[in-house]
Subunit: 190 residues, 2 copies
């Protein structure tokens, strides 16, 4: 359904260029926002690679959701869950090993130039938890071919990452259902 | 790609219930976040209805992106663009008429119970611009069947809407590419 009386304009940038986007903060809507960019990018025919750094031990709807988008979108779940919370049983060294593989994968994917949008989901947390090093993240930013959009999500984004980004949003929690003891609900919270 | 050594847990809430989620603030990532919930909800097999209150005169990637998700997702673009900005040529009364139709559509969709997730995109702006009335928005919240998730996006969310919501995030703009005179880029900004 669309109002047929409206002239629809389609923007085409004179200078197409890849953006570095950081979505940080303590509120709900960081990974979710990145997934929205995936959906939007698909509409434009862009090719997308998602690497999830922390997630892995808890099913999240986007794992199946992206399958609907076809071969244009690739999702790599490389983590072992959130290090140190939710009774996560894996030692730091294992989390670090997984995150290190994810960094190599990210470098490889960026270098392949097979994508228009690369999402490094929760990489900010991985950096905060020292699962990856600042130098490694900055190297990814420096090595990124300029035409590729790179999105970095997760709370506690490092100031050096923010400094190098084009667009940065902080998602603040005003309130959250868990404060009313409401359980996480599928489709909204995971 | 997924670490095969990990046991994946799938949460199932003991008390499934619809949430009212508000995504507000001046930063990038409100509609985008709602679109991420659409993708995630699809992964869980939920049925989704999106009503875009303000957008309509400017192509946005999610219009085609959601088509990939199949019949499970319905998108209604009811607006005439952002009232009063970007050289938008339509008078307020026309915007109001469109927004009023969108409110009726939202009421109808919520009452139909044919969806698990209903997204009222940019309804906060529509309220701020008096294209819809507070009483109308509160009536939607009150009439919502409790099992349906309702997501309201847009800057300047009304305090009464925030009061009734379960989860509220404020997306703050830390910086944005337009400040460096970078044009909006497809897949990221629209």
């Amino acid at each position: 359904m669309q109002d047929k009386s409206i002239r629809i304009e389609k923007l085409v940038p004179k200078n197409p260029q890849g953006l570095v986007v950081v979505i940080t903060g303590d509120g709900k809507g960081k990974t979710t926002s990145a997934m929205g960019m995936v959906l939007r990018a698909c509409g434009h025919g862009l090719r997308v690679c998602i690497i999830q750094f922390m997630k892995g031990d808890l099913y999240s709807g986007e794992w199946d959701g992206v399958k609907r988008l076809g071969e244009q979108v690739e999702l790599h779940v490389t983590g072992k869950g959130f290090c140190g919370i939710r009774g996560n049983p894996y030692p730091w060294a294992e989390h670090r090993a997984n995150a290190q593989s994810a960094i190599s994968l990210a470098a490889e994917k960026l270098a392949s130039e097979a994508y228009d949008l690369v999402i490094l989901d929760e990489i900010n947390n991985a950096l905060k938890l020292k699962l990856v090093d600042l130098e490694q993240v900055l190297a990814l930013l420096d090595q990124r071919p300029i035409r590729i959009h790179l999105v970095l999500t997760g709370r506690s984004a490092h100031p050096e990452v923010i400094k190098r980004a084009d667009t940065v949003s902080e998602v603040r929690e005003i309130k959250h259902a868990y404060q009313k003891k409401i359980e996480p609900q599928p489709g909204i919270d995971y």
